[in-house]
Symmetry: C2
Subunit: 233 residues, 2 copies
């Protein structure tokens, strides 16, 4: 009886190297590499092995191959599970709503996000982010209602953040205040005897939190996007 070995979901080191090269080459050249370019760059001794590996990567959904066409392979979004965001666009998942009364997602720094579902995501040009930002741990929340007005943030705005449990002075953070059962977006400052949460609107007063009080920072705001495609008044 013929035994069939179970295919592991984990990728080999060589597969990962191939996927990384494919992403880099595509981002840099606006075309995929040839089999021979993969061969020499990833240090594989023959084109038939590259062909064998590409067939495996296609079976697992990372690429699509067009037969008998030069440079006939295309990357699928699944490749970003392995190599992270690449190219000029970063797809950021929209995890849900944000409003004063809605608990914030419980996320940890270093968590990475990935979604293939463009319906629940926003695409951000990499050039809008700081050069050192890789984009793998960004997520977004969509503002519901007027409760973030003191942050100069409207109903419907998309708030792009990265997970954080601490912050530097002047950074805008998403904070859960357990005593008030409330989420808020404010500029964060450490004071002598506690924290100051400063609204973006300079005509509004800050919140002071004593050192003995609990303040749960959930994320740091990186960007806000306001689309005007729907009328809100």
């Amino acid at each position: 009886m013929m035994m069939v070995r179970k295919r592991s979901e984990n990728l080999s080191e060589k597969h990962i190297r191939i996927l990384q090269f494919l992403a880099e080459y595509q981002a840099k050249n606006n075309r995929p590499p040839s089999i021979r370019e993969i061969c020499s760059e990833v240090d594989i001794s023959s084109t038939s092995v590259v062909n064998y590996d590409l067939d495996q990567l296609e079976r697992r959904g990372f690429i699509i191959r067009d037969g008998r066409v030069s440079r006939g392979l295309r990357l699928t979004d699944k490749i970003k599970e392995v190599v992270g965001a690449f190219g000029d666009l970063i797809r950021i998942p929209v995890l849900g709503p944000i409003a004063a009364g809605i608990p914030l997602p419980d996320l940890q720094p270093g968590m990475t996000f990935f979604t293939e579902n463009e319906a629940n995501a926003v695409d951000i040009a990499r050039s809008l982010l700081p050069a050192r930002e890789k984009g793998n741990d960004l997520f977004a929340l969509e503002v519901k209602g007027d409760s973030m007005i003191d942050a100069m943030i409207n109903d419907g705005d998309i708030v792009v953040m990265k997970p954080a449990v601490d912050a530097r002075n002047g950074e805008m953070v998403a904070v859960w205040l357990p005593e008030n059962n409330e989420a808020t977006l404010k500029y964060f400052f450490k004071e002598k005897d506690g924290y100051r949460l400063q609204p973006a609107n300079p005509t509004m007063k800050p919140i002071f939190i004593g050192k003995n009080k609990q303040v749960e920072i959930k994320g740091k705001v990186v960007m806000v996007i306001r689309k005007m495609d729907t009328m809100r008044m």
Copy 2:
């Protein structure tokens, strides 16, 4: 004596068709077409004519060719002068600042913009724009100071607009008020005897403009982007 004819800056109809096909194919396939694919799609009878045309397009800066490489041509940004924005990213020129005391650019609907200088531009993912928006007539202004706070727009925000001289009820417009010598961003409404300019911040009062008064609409706001890369407090 050999006479050298001056090369016209105008492109022929065939050159335009080639550039359009190159842009479409690249956006759809993430690779350039082969010479033979251009040949059959643009209805050119031989590969040597395609080669001749591509050499001309390269000389004029629309493409770059890698010799003796399959699918070895790359599109330059100059191609967008001819075919408009394509692909998943739209590069929008930032024409200058916007503040209450700064006159707005005098633009006409239908004007198209193009910039190769990424230092004075923002890149927007096409998926953030309405499906029918081509993106060729979008421009951006960068907010200076706190004078747009009643529009819920901060110092440093990037306001993306398209030229307009009229507006529908509920649209946010960039308006120049000659009597006040002032620019403002507000929601626009037609009233029985004039116009109402409604601040985005619901706690602030609108401006009423009588029908006999002059109100110059310069653009309609499409999107606002707020980057948090610098501290503003």
